[in-house]
């Protein structure tokens, strides 16, 4: 992975920068020991690593502001980091950067059930936001798979999705306001407890900007009352295409389940071997979940089951208890881990129009055969967000490169059929160099112009999201 040459000027004044940071942070919050900074060398995209110059762990907005002010004055690149769970390399350091970790900032600042909102520091984990309100019957809807570990800061940076976003939307649809520190240390408040902030929708562009516009330190999030109950049905088919057609028919019928998950044979078999969820022997499997009271669940499921039966499923299993529901989800939730047990893999994240599912699944199979690599499919079928898992052997010379080439070809396929490179993981470094496959240079320039306004010196996470060639002039000018 090509990264910009580290700045010798910055590296040469490392000790000066450390002493300035120690003026504003407790000693324990400034990490400069090369053994300790190694902990920050990568995120969940572990194929790429680089030890940062320093890492800092501020405890509040004021400290973040002080740190950024110093970095701004000294011209030091900053890479913000939530919990380090990015699958796209969004938090991967450069050798001359300060990693700004928000992990210490994990307090709940306010819960307001009447107005259905919670205000948290951005280092709080996704699941613990729900945890703070669940005793009172509420939850925070976006549920990325990494929700046990991932931080709200990263969720906002990547505009994270999850399995239930068909009904509840993704992060941007559940974010009401942020406190954000700009690169020069200024603190800006956008939005809050009211809906739709006045002026331009800055919140909309901040969410999903991959830590390139500012460091979000606090967030106001929408919380919802938990549904009375939820129940999944498992539907298995002997052809991928038929499963795809069933998804389209469910959506057309006017029932909107909270989740429609898809797994193909490789994923079914692998997760069955691993998790023993009792999955049937089938080519494709759907998990369709609906929510509500008993009456509502039955009404929705009877419609869904009637549609599914028209497609001659090889098995149709409606959960009859909490245990059965958990078992139906167990295999799906174990899929990534199960694949990880049998092989190294790369997880893609392209989105396609749902109508193109059968064609794209077929083409992915063909591409896999061309490259001689196995590929499994497990994804959110209701919204077309695919997660092809390409299996490779990291110890075999050339296999990673072949896998990356194959991944790029699948992502180009997603774009060709009207979709996009990434549905919920973000661009990071991983898909940076494919951006011109989706956007023209004029389209990209418009985005770079936005960064110019927020971060004119191009110090924040600057080597990500866009091809280095597109940002070179701007980065050099800083």
């Amino acid at each position: 992975m090509q990264m910009p040459t580290p700045s010798a000027t910055v590296l040469n004044k490392k000790s000066h920068i450390i002493s300035r940071l120690l003026d504003v942070l407790p000693a324990a919050s400034v990490i400069s020991d090369p053994i300790q900074t190694r902990a920050y060398e990568c995120d969940a995209l572990t194929a790429y690593r680089c030890v940062p110059m320093l890492a800092v762990l501020p405890a509040n907005t004021e400290q973040v502001s002080e740190v950024l002010k110093i970095c701004f004055e000294e011209g030091v690149p900053v890479v913000p980091r939530g919990a380090g769970t990015s699958l796209a390399g969004g938090a991967m350091p450069t050798a001359d950067c300060v990693i700004l970790g928000v992990a210490k900032m994990n307090n709940v600042l306010e819960t307001d059930y009447e107005n259905r909102l919670i205000r948290v520091q951005s280092g709080r984990t996704n699941l613990s936001v729900s945890g703070a309100v669940e005793e009172d019957g509420f939850f925070y809807a976006p549920d990325p798979s990494s929700q046990l570990a991932c931080a709200i800061a990263g969720n906002i940076g990547m505009n994270s999705g999850g399995a239930h976003c068909l009904k509840y939307g993704v992060t941007t649809n559940n974010l009401l306001g942020v406190t954000m520190v700009m690169m020069d240390g200024e603190v800006v408040e956008i939005g809050g407890g009211h809906l739709d902030a006045s002026g331009l929708d800055l919140l909309g562009v901040i969410c999903g900007s991959e830590g390139q516009l500012g460091v979000v330190t606090e967030a106001t999030l929408r919380i919802l009352h938990k549904p009375v109950a939820a129940r999944p049905v498992l539907i298995a088919f002997d052809e991928n295409e038929v499963a795809g057609a069933c998804v389209a028919d469910i959506i057309k019928a006017g029932v909107l389940p909270v989740a429609i998950e898809f797994m193909d044979r490789l994923c079914i078999e692998t997760s069955e071997n691993f998790a023993k969820a009792g999955y049937p022997d089938a080519e494709a499997l759907l998990i369709v979940e609906v929510e509500g009271s008993e009456v509502e669940i039955e009404e929705q499921l009877s419609k869904i089951i009637a549609i599914a039966k028209r497609h001659n499923p090889v098995e149709l299993r409606e959960s009859k208890s909490e245990e059965e529901s958990a078992k139906i989800w167990l295999g799906r939730k174990s899929a990534f881990g199960a694949i990880g047990q049998i092989s190294d893999y790369m997880c893609l994240d392209g989105t396609i129009p749902v109508s193109e599912l059968p064609y794209v699944l077929r083409r992915i199979g063909e591409i896999g055969r061309e490259y001689g690599l196995r590929v499994g499919n497990v994804f959110h079928a209701g919204d077309g967000n695919m997660h092809p898992l390409i299996l490779f052997d990291a110890n075999k010379p050339g296999d990673l490169e072949r896998c990356e080439e194959m991944g790029a070809e699948i992502l180009r396929l997603c774009v060709q059929v009207g979709g996009c490179l990434t549905g919920e993981h973000g661009v990071g470094i991983e898909k940076r160099d494919l951006m011109f496959d989706q956007y023209t240079s004029t389209d990209i320039d418009a985005q770079l112009n936005v960064k110019d306004v927020f971060d004119p010196k191009w110090l924040l996470n600057a080597a990500k999201v866009f091809p280095l060639s597109a940002t070179e002039t701007r980065r050099a000018a800083s």
Partner: protein
Amino acid sequence: MNPINEAELSEAIKSANEPLRIVGGGTRQTLGNAVNASTTLSTAGMTGITLLEPAALTLVVRAGTPLVDVQAALDAENLQLPFEPMTHNTLLNTSGRSTIGGVVACNISGSRRIQAGACRDSLIGVRMVDGAGNILKNGGRVMKNVTGYDLVKLMAGSFGTLGVMTELSFKLLPKPATQATVNLHGLNDADGINVLCRALGSPNDVTGVAFANGNAMIRIEGLLKSVDYRVGALKSLFAVHDITVDLNDTATWASIGNVEHLAPDDGAIWRVSVKPTDGPKLVQNLRDAHVTLNAVYDWGGGLIYLSLPDDLNLRDHMGGFGGHATLIRGNGGGAPKMQPQNKLVAGIEQGLRAKFDPRGILNTGIMG
């Protein structure tokens, strides 16, 4: 100027040597601060649905397409725009036909915003021409897309100041089979908003929560049995109140969304966005100050339309409440229609406009 496609629009903007006023259907021309431009650029020539795919819940439509045409096409497929856009014809006494581009430019959302999100939440892609005449796009036609910055959201509610939108993509929702409204009668504002907040905080997935004329209205939508069940749940939640239930009363919700209650009033009309529980407090403060007013609350109390004496600047009374107030109609004590931003935010907005519209010719000054 009346371009019929993107290329013509690009040429028109490139060749413009004076400020332009951007117009869709002309139904909301007085929203926002005054624009000092003698040349009008209309999007009305760029019409038509380019893609409507029910199985993917996706619509792609050119910006000048009248909203009624969009809605008719969606009706035929039993689909709807989730955000239930209002029309301003009654409130602003205008006669044109609202265009979908105008809806997006002003981020117009109606009662369902509280459950299904605003216009900006359903918008998944834009094509546009910026102030330099560049044709560009952002987003696409899929509902999950984090590829690069989300300029789609930035365009929604930008009032034409960043570019002229030519084509828009939306995520759609199936039309609900049934709709019911639970009405609680004879409440004061504070009790009414308390009812709305409790309904929103219940697991009944309400899709409209409004309060007008002492009447709290709670809307439930979905499959028949489910609606029936939830109406029952709400009735027992509020058992001590005077309750009636209406079925499929779309006219009442249209009149709430279009603020028809206040349209005949004299004086100024303001639109206020606050935390729902702050709504009745703000109104009570005004009443305590002996201000004559009428109020209609939507979004559980978070959106208030107020008719106020024309010489009163509501923002002088907003102290202590977060949120913002927009003057929709009238003089409002001479206040600018759009709420001025603090210096830092204003600086960012100015910076963005300078990038997208370097010559400052697109609806200049309309947002302040």
